[in-house]
């Protein structure tokens, strides 16, 4: 009897939680036209739900879906290339109107799958990480790209760090995902920019543990700073690590501006870092547009046969000079 009562209580708690979750889900649901003409799009968002490198993209995609009457199916891969491939196969089997992919797995992995999708009449386009040869092949069929040029974005951030006060001969570190093809483009760009400016640059690879839990980067970068007391700059193109740069410098006993830092994307923690001077510059790839444009692309191609458009969303960097006006938008998950 007691056991049955306990089980009943457990079922009640779980039911309340599930009902609450469903209610919250319904709250933000897109009220699109539920007709046979509704366009269905599967979209790869990249990271995990809500992380600083993904949130604004999700919000942009949802905004486009809402205004265009599209049914959007979000896919999150934690930036794992093999998962992106599996998600494409899942999308393919659902036979939607369009699929948005990212280039992290590489053209070799995607080519056959994209061929199959397009032969079935599915529109495929891309964002965040380009697939230039596939884009060239299927541009007429609507294959476009909306994202920052990763290498160029990293290079721009490196240049911005130089403008913040680096001189020839200064020692710099670039902490990036050098072991991952695709995601190594932007830190490589940063590395090259600093090297071309005459800095002595070292590379340090981000381990999978730190990739998932950025707070673990604090002792690692502290150790690096202690080992290299003449270090003048730290750059990264990892959004979550950018969020922790202020903590790193505090742990190492550095004052704002003592070490010039460069990062990517914006999050509330990064804003604070920029405001206090710990983060000198952060690359803004306008993730919102990386979410909005691919959805728009598929609709334009579906309805009006418009070819794929190549849109560079990497417009610049955020520094102490422009942070004030962007802050409220960043906190809303728009910028």
């Amino acid at each position: 009897m007691k056991q049955k009562f306990t089980v009943l209580i457990l079922i009640t708690i779980i039911s309340i939680l599930i009902t609450g979750t469903l209610l919250f889900s319904c709250k933000g649901k897109t009220t699109s036209k539920n007709t046979t003409e509704e366009i269905v799009i599967y979209m790869q968002m990249g990271g995990t739900e809500g992380d600083p490198s993904t949130l604004a993209r999700t919000n942009g995609a949802k905004a486009a879906a809402k205004s265009l009457g599209v049914k959007l199916i979000e896919q999150y891969s934690g930036w794992q290339p093999e998962k992106m491939i599996n998600q494409f196969k899942e999308a393919l089997s659902a036979n939607p109107d369009g699929i948005v992919i990212m280039g992290h797995p590489g053209e070799g992995a995607f080519e056959a799958l994209v061929d199959e999708a397009i032969s079935k009449g599915i529109i495929v386009t891309s964002g965040n990480n380009p697939l230039p040869n596939i884009e060239k092949k299927y541009q007429e069929k609507g294959f476009g790209y909306a994202g920052a040029e990763l290498y160029a974005g990293g290079y721009l951030t490196g240049e911005s760090m130089v403008k913040a006060g680096l001189k020839s001969g200064d020692k710099a570190l670039v902490y990036g995902l050098f072991h991952q093809e695709g995601r190594n483009q932007s830190p490589q760009g940063m590395f090259d920019a600093l090297k071309n400016a005459g800095c002595k640059v070292e590379k340090l690879d981000i381990s999978p543990e730190v990739d998932s839990e950025a707070s673990l980067a604090i002792p690692i970068l502290t150790a690096y700073i202690e080992r290299n007391p003449d270090l003048k700059a730290i750059g990264t193109q990892h959004g979550n690590i950018t969020s922790n740069l202020m903590k790193v410098l505090e742990a190492a006993g550095k004052k704002p501006g003592e070490i010039i830092t460069g990062g990517i994307d914006t999050s509330p923690a990064t804003i604070e870092g920029v405001e206090k001077g710990y983060v000198s510059t952060t690359f803004d790839q306008v993730l919102y547009l990386q979410g909005y444009y691919p959805v728009l692309q598929i609709v334009l191609t579906k309805k009006y046969k418009i070819p794929g458009l190549h849109i560079n969303t990497g417009v610049g960097t955020v520094t102490t000079k422009n942070i004030k006006e962007l802050k409220p938008l960043i906190e809303e998950g728009i910028r």
């Binding site: 457990l10 809500g50 839990e213 002792p219 690096y224 080992r227 923690a269």
Partner: protein
Amino acid sequence: MKKSLNALSVFKKIEGLPIIIVFIMLIIAFTITAPTVFTNYRIYMSFLQTVPPMLVLGLGLTLVITAGEIDLSFSAVIAFSGFIFSYIFRTLNTPWLAFVSAIAGGGLVGFINGILIAKIGVPSIMATLASQFFWNGLTIKLCGGLSWNIKVIKTYFIHPLFVGRLFGIIPVQAIWALGLTIFIWFILNRHKFGESIMFIGDNPEVARVMGVNVEKTKIQLFTINGLIAGFAAVLLTLEMINFWTTQGSGFLLPVMAAVFIGGTSIAGGQGSIVGTFFGTYIIGSLEAGVVATGIGGYWTRLVTGLVMGASVVLNILIDESNPKNIIKVLKRSVFNKGLKNNRTNT
């Protein structure tokens, strides 16, 4: 030789001895290869700043594994309890209510896990894996995927109380984690509850016959683990003064590694809180140490594997019940026999 063997026998009775040896050797190795880093206090303070949440998680997990179970949901509790703490603080400006609610949230997760496992009979690995996905998903849904900055909490007493700096440099969370370690050690090794956990881990049927209420103890165990994980979430959120939906996601493997290299038996029945303590600090400092030596970050996983292997092998060699126990091997060895023969002849 015999006196040496007796001294060795006494020495090996120190709990967590293998991992303590590995820890000391690592620190010595890092100090030799990176003297500018490891002779400076800052690197140790950064470990004391970042390792405590992992250690707190490891303490709870040690109890669970000692009982012959597993809990994979603690990383989701870090996000869920972190959300509760941040949301209540931002909405009501009441840090202490946020604190209690966050810990209670962790307890709720643990309680539900306990019911699923003890009453319904779902294997703990399946129940807690599902739990991890559920609570993570719920957290993301409730916060709308947004991350929050709660820097205003620095003006409240709760901040320096849990994550302040003693004498301006020592992270207070390390002291809280140490205190919890001592408390959990006493629970496991000197309290009836700890005894029950070990009996259950050894053989739940025998434990039942001996009068242990196995179901009730398991429910209490998972609830306590949830409460402990909730506390770890508060420490992490206070230190970072930020809530991220992905917080805690990277702790799963490192915390498990720390518990196992610390000497807690995967089969259950035996747990080492001292081992978990040193195991966590080893795992938390490995990558920083490798980077400090300048040999490059690609070596981290390789070195981690070597350290784990060494710890586990040492644990087995020193284990009394193991016929290959090093003391027994030495006692049976020709050297000891040779000495015995010499004494007989003289």
